[in-house]
Amino acid sequence: MPSASPMPDQQQLDQQQPDQQQYLQDVRRALPADTIIYDPRHMAVYETDGLTAKKQKPWLVLLPETIEQVQAAMRLAHGHGIPVVARGAGTGLSGGAMPHPDGILLSLARFNRILAVDEDNLSAVVQPGVTNLSITEHVRDRGLYYAPDPSSQIACSIGGNVAENSGGVHCLKYGLTVHNVLKLKLVSPEGEIYEVGADSLDAPGFDLLALLHGSEGMLGIVVEVTVKLLPKPGAIVVFLAGFDSVSRAGESVGAIIAEGIVPAGLEMMDKMAVEAAEAFVKVGYPLAAEALLLCELDGAALEVESQLARLEALMTRCGATSFKVARSQSERDLLWKGRKAAFPAVGRIAPDYYCMDGTIPRRELGAVLDEIAALSRRFELAVANVFHAGDGNLHPLILFDANKPGETDRAEALGAAILELCIERGGTITGEHGVGVEKIDQMCVQFTDDELAMFHDVKAAFDESGILNPGKAVPTLNRCAEFGAMHVHAGNEKFPGLERF
């Protein structure tokens, strides 16, 4: 736990805006000293979230422990017009929790308790700083679990999951965070407390619960989450099928869906991702394959076995070159371990990597992967592909070395090109990681000015003074105009990022 910050010295005080000085005085009266971090030396951990390329020290860090403290902090911030960026575990991949230089970084890390489990209503009330996996661990003995399982589930917090509407490998069958949350308790920018959703399956009025999911901390501060719990399936099997081409693996995904089976998870990795994962965690993936399909089936024991038999035959017909089944928990965990460790595994084979998150209609899978390969050659940067194949959610990992001049820019340019490719093929720039600061320019490509204006209107309906996470998720129309002009220019001159080499 960070210690109380010393009082700011005179020089620091002189640099502050009058509003900030007043805020600091007021917040010291309202919150205990050990919830306020003023000393920049203690702020390093808050400079960045999972998008480590973007770093920014906040003006002030608050670590409130009670809802009343959050309310007080917000009331004061609202009164003084000071920006507030909420932060959970800081594992987000789009810079959504990147601090504001003149603002407060509001960490919900101390809201880390599971408050209640209701076995009759199959729900649990948890604080936003509780990690995703710990919910499942808490109810495992009762035969229950919380379904959404982002790969970072050991560290990511449920509040952050709500803010990003996180998915995971099981959302093909069990849905995203929005499908698995019943109710939220929030603090408004003005410091009021309110609830959306209900302990029932719906609530009166507008579906604000859905609107708040994926809103990236722009609309309110989540201080309590009621999640749905599910009974553990009677039987689970995982199979792994190897293919000698990525497009053949992609076609087999469509074939599984056409079979009328919705697997619990359906993931794909290309050769580079497989090699990296195998080198990292040694799970026994077939290294000869150009692409691997990982498929999990769950349900009643006999049902799972009959589906498995059907899919084994189907995979053979689709040209699978290898097929391996994992039945026991330890065997299954091992197969998944390689997939879930794919990001850090790729991190070991390159000094830096940049993870993209576009989603496309599944039918475009083969064509989009071919184009990503072409872009990879053109930008001279390797790309490993890991994806939630069942959902068409791609995670191309762009490998680069930030210490080589220009490579970071080139990686970003390649990433932008991939996102625009996704839009062109009828998809979206982000399936589950959020827009944050990272993909804000691509929002200009995906949405019209009128649609962006409506997003700003929605933001204003919740946060009239605009103090919550300003500058994230939705670009200003001015920014889009500038981006559009630059973009045309970049289109005329082929890949200006390459010229420096």
Binding site: D202, P361, R363, N393
Partner: protein, 341 residues
Amino acid sequence: MSDQTDALVAGVKRAFAAKRRLSIVAGATRDFLGYPMNDEPLNVASHRGIISYEPQELVVRVRAGTPLCELEETLADAGQMLAFEPPRMGAASTIGGCVATGLSGPRRAYAGSVRDFMLGATIIDGQGRCLSFGGQVMKNVAGYDVSRLMAGAMGTLGVILDVSFKVLPMPAREVTIVRTAPLADAVGHWRDAARRFLPVTATAWTGGRSYVRLAGDGAAIDEGVDAIEGDVTTDGPWDLVRDQRHPAVVGAEHLWRLSVAKNDVDPLSVLVEWGGAQCWRTDGADPRASLESGHATRFRGESDAERFQPLAPVVQRLHQRLKDKFDPARILNAGRMYPDL
């Protein structure tokens, strides 16, 4: 099969310029929900047709005026369905009304609601701007989820032009297990079943009988039949319950829908669904003030009385502000859901 976007946009623009209120209509089969509307009709019924449907993608995009039964037929031909089982209030029921009223059927507690299966929507806002949110892909967190906000908004935030849904394969087989049981026992049985991983896709209690529907392939159903006590029948009450044609509710002068926590079932209910989370009362008393959880909606009776649960003050303010943004002149279905909205 007709795209009426331009005409509908022009209609809203004219109304916006003249500050003239519009009542959005299509099949007019769901007028029972919300307050009656008598403003100039904006008819979306001719804006119909399936825009795209690829069964392998599990996605269908459909215009709002498309009859629900037409869409369901097309999906069934490919062995797929709208998994939230929207109530069909008659042959004229449209997709737009289905989304605007936000009603889901027996499968809701086990598969999800209409908004859970929405992937995107195109709307006309109160200024006549045509806007698209979400898309035709399974996962999409770019921008606020405005499309799901349309589900249950009763047309007060925009004219729905088209909606994209995730669809699911139809189960290979369905059976129903029926047993005689008082309501409390039935809810207890459902609760026990919900704690186990069984292929339950619907539950209902009415007239002293508990019904549980199982769906899946043969093996899954066999396992469910072994686990749940009662007689197996292929003749469950599901269509009647789904379409609000069940004898328990069909002729009642008063009808309230209670949406409650599963452990807060109203003992005065004549029909209970969703594992206990959806209860129907016909006794005429207003249950809203006495609810321990959830909310209640008047479906029938006393047309000038209040019909929805009052909103908490902060939530009410958010409704007002959203309405001001989506429909600044307050011309779209004004007063349909709440008198001041």
